[in-house]
Protein backbone atom coordinates (compact mmCIF):
# COMPACT_ATOMS: atom_id res chain seq x y z
CA UNK A 1 0.00 0.00 0.00
CA UNK A 2 2.78 2.36 1.01
CA UNK A 3 4.73 1.53 -2.15
CA UNK A 4 1.66 2.25 -4.27
CA UNK A 5 0.98 5.57 -2.52
CA UNK A 6 4.62 6.55 -2.98
CA UNK A 7 4.30 5.70 -6.64
CA UNK A 8 1.29 8.03 -6.90
CA UNK A 9 3.13 10.90 -5.18
CA UNK A 10 6.21 10.39 -7.35
CA UNK A 11 3.91 10.68 -10.40
CA UNK A 12 4.81 7.17 -11.53
CA UNK A 13 1.45 5.52 -10.92
CA UNK A 14 -1.07 4.55 -13.57
CA UNK A 15 -4.83 4.26 -13.22
CA UNK A 16 -4.44 0.52 -12.70
CA UNK A 17 -2.15 1.19 -9.72
CA UNK A 18 -4.87 3.30 -8.09
CA UNK A 19 -7.39 0.55 -8.80
CA UNK A 20 -5.06 -2.00 -7.19
CA UNK A 21 -4.57 0.31 -4.21
CA UNK A 22 -8.31 0.60 -3.73
CA UNK A 23 -8.81 -3.16 -4.00
CA UNK A 24 -5.96 -3.86 -1.61
CA UNK A 25 -7.39 -1.47 0.97
CA UNK A 26 -10.83 -3.03 0.68
CA UNK A 27 -9.38 -6.52 1.06
CA UNK A 28 -7.18 -5.67 4.07
CA UNK A 29 -10.09 -3.90 5.72
CA UNK A 30 -12.51 -6.80 5.36
CA UNK A 31 -10.23 -9.77 5.95
CA UNK A 32 -8.19 -8.52 8.91
CA UNK A 33 -8.55 -10.14 12.31
CA UNK A 34 -7.47 -7.22 14.49
CA UNK A 35 -8.73 -3.67 14.82
CA UNK A 36 -5.52 -2.21 13.44
CA UNK A 37 -5.89 -4.05 10.14
CA UNK A 38 -9.57 -3.22 9.93
CA UNK A 39 -9.03 0.51 10.38
CA UNK A 40 -5.59 1.31 8.96
CA UNK A 41 -6.76 1.36 5.30
CA UNK A 42 -9.42 3.97 6.24
CA UNK A 43 -7.29 7.08 5.56
CA UNK A 44 -6.43 5.83 2.09
CA UNK A 45 -10.01 4.83 1.35
CA UNK A 46 -11.47 8.13 2.53
CA UNK A 47 -8.95 10.20 0.58
CA UNK A 48 -9.84 8.09 -2.43
CA UNK A 49 -13.50 8.84 -1.81
CA UNK A 50 -13.25 12.59 -1.21
CA UNK A 51 -10.11 13.62 -3.09
CA UNK A 52 -10.15 11.26 -6.05
CA UNK A 53 -9.52 14.17 -8.43
CA UNK A 54 -6.16 14.78 -6.73
CA UNK A 55 -5.17 11.17 -7.27
CA UNK A 56 -6.27 11.42 -10.88
CA UNK A 57 -4.23 14.60 -11.35
CA UNK A 58 -1.09 12.78 -10.22
CA UNK A 59 -1.71 9.64 -12.27
CA UNK A 60 0.20 9.34 -15.52
CA UNK A 61 -1.72 8.14 -18.53
CA UNK A 62 -2.03 4.41 -19.19
CA UNK A 63 -0.91 4.93 -22.80
CA UNK A 64 2.60 3.69 -22.07
CA UNK A 65 1.18 0.32 -21.07
CA UNK A 66 0.13 -1.90 -23.97
CA UNK A 67 -3.64 -2.33 -24.24
CA UNK A 68 -3.26 -6.10 -24.09
CA UNK A 69 -1.66 -5.97 -20.64
CA UNK A 70 -4.49 -3.84 -19.27
CA UNK A 71 -7.11 -6.14 -20.75
CA UNK A 72 -5.33 -9.12 -19.15
CA UNK A 73 -5.11 -7.39 -15.79
CA UNK A 74 -8.80 -6.52 -15.85
CA UNK A 75 -9.71 -10.07 -16.72
CA UNK A 76 -7.89 -11.58 -13.76
CA UNK A 77 -9.16 -9.10 -11.18
Amino acid sequence: MHDLLKKVIDRNATASDVALLEELCDMVKSTSLCGLGQSSPNPVLTTLRYFRNEYEALVVSDQSVPDMAIADAKETV
Partner: protein, 237 residues
Protein backbone atom coordinates in the same frame (compact mmCIF):
# COMPACT_ATOMS: atom_id res chain seq x y z
CA UNK B 1 -21.01 -35.43 28.94
CA UNK B 2 -23.67 -35.24 26.27
CA UNK B 3 -22.87 -33.13 23.24
CA UNK B 4 -25.19 -30.24 22.45
CA UNK B 5 -26.38 -30.41 18.85
CA UNK B 6 -27.11 -27.19 17.02
CA UNK B 7 -28.89 -26.64 13.71
CA UNK B 8 -27.59 -24.11 11.23
CA UNK B 9 -27.69 -23.18 7.57
CA UNK B 10 -24.64 -23.40 5.30
CA UNK B 11 -25.04 -22.19 1.73
CA UNK B 12 -28.82 -22.54 2.11
CA UNK B 13 -28.55 -26.16 3.24
CA UNK B 14 -29.87 -27.20 6.65
CA UNK B 15 -27.11 -28.97 8.54
CA UNK B 16 -26.39 -29.84 12.15
CA UNK B 17 -23.26 -30.09 14.22
CA UNK B 18 -22.01 -30.34 17.79
CA UNK B 19 -21.73 -27.04 19.66
CA UNK B 20 -17.98 -27.59 20.18
CA UNK B 21 -17.31 -27.91 16.44
CA UNK B 22 -16.14 -25.09 14.19
CA UNK B 23 -17.87 -24.01 10.98
CA UNK B 24 -15.05 -25.65 9.04
CA UNK B 25 -15.53 -29.02 10.83
CA UNK B 26 -19.24 -29.03 9.95
CA UNK B 27 -18.48 -28.03 6.35
CA UNK B 28 -15.94 -30.86 6.00
CA UNK B 29 -18.46 -33.37 7.42
CA UNK B 30 -21.03 -32.20 4.85
CA UNK B 31 -18.51 -32.16 1.98
CA UNK B 32 -18.74 -28.39 1.51
CA UNK B 33 -15.33 -27.29 0.23
CA UNK B 34 -13.56 -24.35 1.88
CA UNK B 35 -9.97 -23.56 0.88
CA UNK B 36 -7.53 -23.61 3.81
CA UNK B 37 -3.80 -23.27 4.31
CA UNK B 38 -2.89 -22.84 7.98
CA UNK B 39 -5.56 -25.30 9.17
CA UNK B 40 -4.51 -28.91 9.71
CA UNK B 41 -6.66 -31.61 11.24
CA UNK B 42 -5.16 -32.62 14.58
CA UNK B 43 -3.73 -29.21 15.38
CA UNK B 44 -5.40 -26.28 17.12
CA UNK B 45 -7.08 -23.65 14.95
CA UNK B 46 -5.00 -20.60 14.15
CA UNK B 47 -7.02 -18.39 11.78
CA UNK B 48 -3.96 -16.76 10.25
CA UNK B 49 -4.17 -17.50 6.53
CA UNK B 50 -7.64 -15.92 6.15
CA UNK B 51 -8.49 -18.26 3.27
CA UNK B 52 -11.31 -19.99 5.11
CA UNK B 53 -13.21 -16.73 5.66
CA UNK B 54 -16.97 -17.07 5.46
CA UNK B 55 -19.89 -14.66 5.57
CA UNK B 56 -22.22 -15.07 8.53
CA UNK B 57 -25.56 -13.33 8.46
CA UNK B 58 -25.86 -10.78 11.25
CA UNK B 59 -22.12 -10.11 11.43
CA UNK B 60 -20.65 -7.31 9.33
CA UNK B 61 -17.21 -8.89 9.61
CA UNK B 62 -15.94 -11.93 7.77
CA UNK B 63 -15.18 -14.78 10.14
CA UNK B 64 -12.50 -17.43 9.70
CA UNK B 65 -14.38 -20.72 9.77
CA UNK B 66 -11.51 -22.72 11.33
CA UNK B 67 -11.77 -20.86 14.65
CA UNK B 68 -15.47 -19.90 14.76
CA UNK B 69 -17.71 -22.31 16.67
CA UNK B 70 -21.13 -23.11 15.28
CA UNK B 71 -24.17 -21.64 17.03
CA UNK B 72 -27.90 -22.29 16.78
CA UNK B 73 -29.59 -20.61 13.81
CA UNK B 74 -26.34 -19.45 12.15
CA UNK B 75 -26.63 -18.63 8.45
CA UNK B 76 -23.28 -19.16 6.71
CA UNK B 77 -22.24 -18.45 3.13
CA UNK B 78 -18.99 -20.18 2.11
CA UNK B 79 -18.61 -18.93 -1.45
CA UNK B 80 -19.54 -15.61 -3.00
CA UNK B 81 -17.92 -13.42 -5.64
CA UNK B 82 -16.63 -11.18 -2.84
CA UNK B 83 -15.06 -14.05 -0.87
CA UNK B 84 -13.54 -15.54 -4.01
CA UNK B 85 -12.00 -12.19 -4.90
CA UNK B 86 -10.42 -11.89 -1.46
CA UNK B 87 -9.16 -15.48 -1.51
CA UNK B 88 -7.53 -14.95 -4.90
CA UNK B 89 -5.87 -11.80 -3.63
CA UNK B 90 -4.61 -13.52 -0.48
CA UNK B 91 -2.97 -16.29 -2.52
CA UNK B 92 -1.46 -13.69 -4.85
CA UNK B 93 -0.08 -11.78 -1.87
CA UNK B 94 1.47 -14.96 -0.48
CA UNK B 95 3.25 -15.48 -3.80
CA UNK B 96 4.43 -11.88 -4.04
CA UNK B 97 5.66 -11.78 -0.45
CA UNK B 98 8.55 -14.24 -0.81
CA UNK B 99 10.47 -16.09 -3.48
CA UNK B 100 8.15 -18.95 -4.36
CA UNK B 101 9.83 -20.31 -7.47
CA UNK B 102 7.94 -23.53 -8.16
CA UNK B 103 10.11 -24.75 -11.02
CA UNK B 104 13.19 -25.22 -8.83
CA UNK B 105 11.38 -26.16 -5.61
CA UNK B 106 11.71 -29.61 -4.08
CA UNK B 107 8.01 -29.55 -3.27
CA UNK B 108 6.93 -28.77 -6.84
CA UNK B 109 3.77 -30.77 -7.50
CA UNK B 110 3.22 -31.60 -3.82
CA UNK B 111 2.76 -28.05 -2.54
CA UNK B 112 -0.46 -26.82 -0.96
CA UNK B 113 0.16 -23.23 -2.04
CA UNK B 114 0.71 -24.38 -5.61
CA UNK B 115 -2.46 -26.52 -5.46
CA UNK B 116 -4.47 -23.54 -4.21
CA UNK B 117 -3.21 -21.36 -7.04
CA UNK B 118 -4.03 -24.05 -9.57
CA UNK B 119 -7.52 -24.55 -8.16
CA UNK B 120 -8.17 -20.81 -8.29
CA UNK B 121 -6.69 -20.67 -11.80
CA UNK B 122 -4.20 -17.97 -10.90
CA UNK B 123 -1.99 -17.54 -13.92
CA UNK B 124 -0.09 -14.43 -12.91
CA UNK B 125 0.33 -12.14 -9.93
CA UNK B 126 -1.00 -8.56 -10.15
CA UNK B 127 0.80 -7.41 -7.02
CA UNK B 128 4.47 -6.40 -7.42
CA UNK B 129 6.91 -9.02 -6.08
CA UNK B 130 8.99 -8.06 -3.06
CA UNK B 131 12.03 -10.31 -3.77
CA UNK B 132 13.32 -10.27 -0.17
CA UNK B 133 16.83 -11.57 0.51
CA UNK B 134 16.19 -14.45 2.89
CA UNK B 135 18.59 -16.98 4.35
CA UNK B 136 18.51 -20.76 4.14
CA UNK B 137 19.41 -23.00 7.07
CA UNK B 138 20.91 -26.33 6.01
CA UNK B 139 22.89 -26.92 9.19
CA UNK B 140 20.74 -29.84 10.37
CA UNK B 141 21.88 -33.33 9.38
CA UNK B 142 18.48 -34.43 8.05
CA UNK B 143 16.36 -31.36 7.32
CA UNK B 144 16.55 -28.01 5.62
CA UNK B 145 14.76 -24.72 6.33
CA UNK B 146 14.22 -22.32 3.43
CA UNK B 147 12.63 -19.03 4.53
CA UNK B 148 11.97 -18.16 0.89
CA UNK B 149 9.19 -20.75 0.68
CA UNK B 150 7.65 -20.13 4.10
CA UNK B 151 4.06 -18.83 4.22
CA UNK B 152 4.00 -18.41 8.02
CA UNK B 153 1.14 -20.85 8.52
CA UNK B 154 2.76 -21.79 11.88
CA UNK B 155 1.91 -25.46 11.42
CA UNK B 156 5.50 -26.34 12.41
CA UNK B 157 5.22 -24.16 15.52
CA UNK B 158 1.97 -25.81 16.56
CA UNK B 159 2.94 -29.42 15.79
CA UNK B 160 6.23 -29.01 17.69
CA UNK B 161 4.48 -27.51 20.70
CA UNK B 162 1.22 -29.49 20.80
CA UNK B 163 2.20 -32.91 19.48
CA UNK B 164 5.94 -33.32 20.03
CA UNK B 165 6.00 -31.10 23.12
CA UNK B 166 9.42 -29.64 22.33
CA UNK B 167 8.42 -26.12 21.22
CA UNK B 168 11.57 -25.67 19.20
CA UNK B 169 9.82 -23.44 16.64
CA UNK B 170 8.48 -19.97 17.18
CA UNK B 171 7.67 -16.85 15.21
CA UNK B 172 9.85 -13.75 15.55
CA UNK B 173 9.52 -10.26 14.10
CA UNK B 174 6.45 -8.24 13.22
CA UNK B 175 4.50 -7.69 10.05
CA UNK B 176 6.51 -8.30 6.94
CA UNK B 177 9.60 -9.04 9.07
CA UNK B 178 7.92 -12.10 10.66
CA UNK B 179 9.78 -15.35 10.28
CA UNK B 180 9.99 -18.72 12.00
CA UNK B 181 12.94 -19.27 14.32
CA UNK B 182 14.52 -22.24 16.06
CA UNK B 183 15.06 -21.92 19.82
CA UNK B 184 16.72 -18.52 20.34
CA UNK B 185 17.07 -17.77 16.62
CA UNK B 186 20.02 -20.08 16.21
CA UNK B 187 21.09 -22.54 13.52
CA UNK B 188 19.00 -25.73 13.49
CA UNK B 189 22.04 -27.91 14.23
CA UNK B 190 22.75 -25.98 17.46
CA UNK B 191 19.22 -26.47 18.80
CA UNK B 192 19.13 -28.16 22.19
CA UNK B 193 15.36 -28.72 22.24
CA UNK B 194 14.88 -30.24 18.76
CA UNK B 195 14.28 -33.99 18.97
CA UNK B 196 14.89 -34.60 15.24
CA UNK B 197 11.38 -36.10 14.99
CA UNK B 198 10.67 -34.49 11.62
CA UNK B 199 7.00 -33.74 12.32
CA UNK B 200 7.46 -30.11 11.30
CA UNK B 201 8.82 -31.23 7.93
CA UNK B 202 5.85 -33.54 7.39
CA UNK B 203 3.23 -30.89 8.10
CA UNK B 204 4.82 -27.97 6.20
CA UNK B 205 2.46 -27.12 3.31
CA UNK B 206 5.22 -25.77 1.06
CA UNK B 207 8.91 -26.39 0.45
CA UNK B 208 10.05 -24.33 3.44
CA UNK B 209 10.84 -27.40 5.51
CA UNK B 210 12.20 -30.34 3.55
CA UNK B 211 14.19 -33.52 3.94
CA UNK B 212 17.77 -33.28 2.80
CA UNK B 213 18.71 -35.28 -0.25
CA UNK B 214 15.54 -34.49 -2.20
CA UNK B 215 15.75 -32.99 -5.67
CA UNK B 216 13.25 -30.83 -7.54
CA UNK B 217 9.67 -32.14 -7.12
CA UNK B 218 10.87 -35.09 -5.02
CA UNK B 219 9.67 -33.93 -1.62
CA UNK B 220 6.38 -35.67 -0.90
CA UNK B 221 4.73 -35.08 2.44
CA UNK B 222 2.41 -37.17 4.53
CA UNK B 223 0.29 -35.48 7.16
CA UNK B 224 -2.12 -38.38 7.68
CA UNK B 225 -0.37 -39.44 10.91
CA UNK B 226 -1.63 -36.37 12.75
CA UNK B 227 -5.39 -36.97 13.22
CA UNK B 228 -4.69 -40.56 14.39
CA UNK B 229 -2.07 -39.39 16.86
CA UNK B 230 -4.37 -36.74 18.33
CA UNK B 231 -7.34 -39.08 18.56
CA UNK B 232 -5.30 -41.83 20.20
CA UNK B 233 -4.04 -39.42 22.84
CA UNK B 234 -7.57 -38.15 23.52
CA UNK B 235 -8.65 -41.75 24.20
CA UNK B 236 -5.81 -42.32 26.63
CA UNK B 237 -6.57 -39.33 28.82
Amino acid sequence: MTAVVVALKIDGRDVSGRADETILDVCRENKIPIPTLCFLEGLSGWGACRLCLVEVKGSNKLLSSCVTKVTEGMDVTTTSPRLEKYRRMIVQMLFSERNHVCSVCVSNGHCELQNLAQKMEITHINIPYRYPKLPLDASHDLFRLDHNRCVLCTRCVRVCDEIEGAHTWDVAGRGVESHVIIDLDQPWADSSSCTNCGKCVRVCPTGALTRKGTGVAEMEKDESFLPYLTRMREHNT
